[in-house]
């Protein structure tokens, strides 16, 4: 299991944030999915990205998560992930 997510994520006020800017594909996807599967966040997850992670969306949906775009001046792309199904 890849541990990329550990160095890129932090829990801020009960919400996981993961910064995957300046990473080579598919490392951002691996880091984000690593966080979702390993840390199993109970609440939402905020992604700070420098590109639209188009290849991530089918994988997210497969795992019962959905993405919503947020406006964040510090990021080119900022997404809020939330569960569409309860964790099994």
């Amino acid at each position: 299991m890849t541990d990329l997510w550990r160095t890129r994520s932090q829990l801020v006020d009960g919400v996981w944030h993961i910064d995957v800017k300046n990473m080579q594909p598919p490392d951002p996807m691996t880091a984000i999915l690593g966080l979702l599967e390993s840390a199993a966040p109970a609440g939402d997850v905020i992604i700070h990205h420098d590109r639209d992670p188009i290849y991530l969306y089918p994988e997210l949906h497969q795992r019962g998560w959905q993405a919503r775009r947020l406006d964040n001046p510090d990021d080119l792309v900022c997404l809020r992930l939330s569960r569409i199904t309860a964790p099994s």
């Binding site: 890849t2 598919p26 691996t30 188009i54 969306y57 497969q62 406006d71």
Partner: protein, 422 residues
């Protein structure tokens, strides 16, 4: 402020789905044609030594129609990920598909019926389509920046594309121009550059994105990947130089160095598989692993045949077939895996989740394709080994079956994602 609608911005970053999918669908059709032509060739394959006929038509349906067509579609879809640079001119992308399809059909028919005019027309159109592809490719690579490893592989493949296109035209027009004295050596170099150079480098380069993405592992480190590319390129250069200058030592150096390059690449791929979060891999990975096995075996077989180790009349045919089977199996495996993935991505709509991958990919057809493709390859090798026309007929019939299954897989995925009401 949050913006409702989930996947906003996804569509405008992608090519319209009809563009990559037309390449992939056409490649599935040419796969069936290629196997069909081999079926019609009967025992011609056993001692094939070049020249027009069904075998040459099948080889070019496979190389241009399946392998290059897939490489074109995959490049248009995936290169922007590596270079962060979109293909802007969609008209040229569509024209590339039309030109390349027509070229392959004319060339295939011309070769099958040994019609020099049709061959020249098809060859000329193929030259134009490959030039257009090279132009699109180099434009994207020049303007882009990002994944060094993938970009360098694509530049190397681009160099191979230029050389093989010029050499291909010189070979096709040689009966009238007489530019080439040693046609057999030139044809062998053309084959090496097309397979190990152009297609092989594309396959290896895109593997650095695709395999980690499929198994959810980290991207391989740049240094070992570049070392693999350098070693592989040195090996290919050595093999070509050895053939051209008739220097066996250089050819052996090239072959062995190439094997080290392949070993380094496969080590990185296996590490990705081992460290990936996805442990249970789909049936297409059986085909991908099979292809990885065929890659070095092809070179080892070629070197032993060159040394006189395998003296049968079909030894060189087996070498050529192993090389083509490696590329075909790899690309089919990738295509089986990526089609539902891309379809799901393209079908995403703002505010709507993408369709589930598991609901798009018909597993039974996937498995059928995987095993019929492997079965056809193994049976062809047996048929060539024992010089049996009936075995070759059965093998190529199985190949036709795998081609038809691939067409039905493509249609099923497209139907499920765009036409089926859920």
């Amino acid at each position: 402020m949050s913006v409702p609608g989930g996947l906003m911005g996804v569509q405008d970053r992608l090519l319209p789905p009809a563009i990559p999918f037309r390449f992939f669908g056409t490649a599935s059709l040419f796969l069936t044609f290629a196997w069909g032509l081999l079926f019609l060739s009967g025992g011609e394959l056993i001692d094939y030594a070049g020249g027009p006929g069904f075998v040459l038509a099948a080889i070019h349906s496979l190389t241009l129609g399946v392998l290059t067509m897939t490489a074109m579609g995959a490049s248009l879809q995936l290169l922007p990920v590596a270079t962060r640079q979109a293909f802007g001119n969609l008209y040229l992308c569509r024209m590339l598909w039309a030109l390349h399809s027509v070229a392959t059909v004319f060339l295939g028919i011309g070769m099958a019926i040994a019609d020099v005019n049709l061959m020249a027309l098809g060859g000329g159109l193929a030259f134009l389509s490959l030039c257009l592809f090279g132009w699109l490719l180099s434009g994207n690579l020049r303007q882009g920046s990002g994944m060094t490893v993938v970009i360098l592989h694509c530049w190397s493949a681009f160099a191979g594309l230029i050389i093989l296109t010029i050499l291909g035209i010189a070979l096709a027009s040689n009966p009238t121009t007489g530019w080439i004295e040693d046609v057999a050596t030139a044809a062998a170099i053309h084959f090496l550059i097309a397979s190990f150079g152009f297609m092989g480098l594309f396959a290896a380069g895109f593997s650095y994105i695709l395999i980690p993405m499929f198994v959810l592992s980290s991207a391989p480190k740049n240094k070992p990947a570049l070392a693999s590319l350098t070693t592989y390129g040195l090996g290919l250069g050595g093999a070509i130089g050895g053939l051209h200058f008739e220097m066996p030592v250089l050819l052996w150096f090239g072959g062995v160095t190439g094997l080290f390059g392949i070993a380094a690449h496969l080590r990185l791929m296996l590490l990705a598989l081992k460290s990936g979060m996805r442990k249970k891999l789909d049936p297409p990975f059986i085909l991908i692993r099979f292809a990885w096995l065929l890659w070095p075996i092809g070179i080892i077989w070629g070197l032993f045949t060159y040394a006189g180790g395998f003296g049968g009349e079909s030894a060189w045919v087996i070498f050529g077939f192993l090389v083509l089977a490696w590329l075909l199996s790899f690309l089919l495996g990738i295509l089986l895996r990526i089609l539902p993935f891309l379809a799901s991505m393209h079908a995403s709509r703002p505010g709507q989740p993408p369709p589930l991958l598991s609901a798009l990919a018909p597993k039974n057809i996937q498995t059928t394709i995987v095993y019929s493709q492997i079965g056809a390859v193994l049976l062809i090798l047996v048929g060539l080994g024992v010089a049996s026309e009936p075995v070759l007929r059965i093998a190529t019939a199985l190949g036709v079956f795998s081609g038809l299954a691939m067409v039905s897989y493509f249609i099923t995925v497209v139907y499920r994602v765009w036409f089926e009401k859920s």
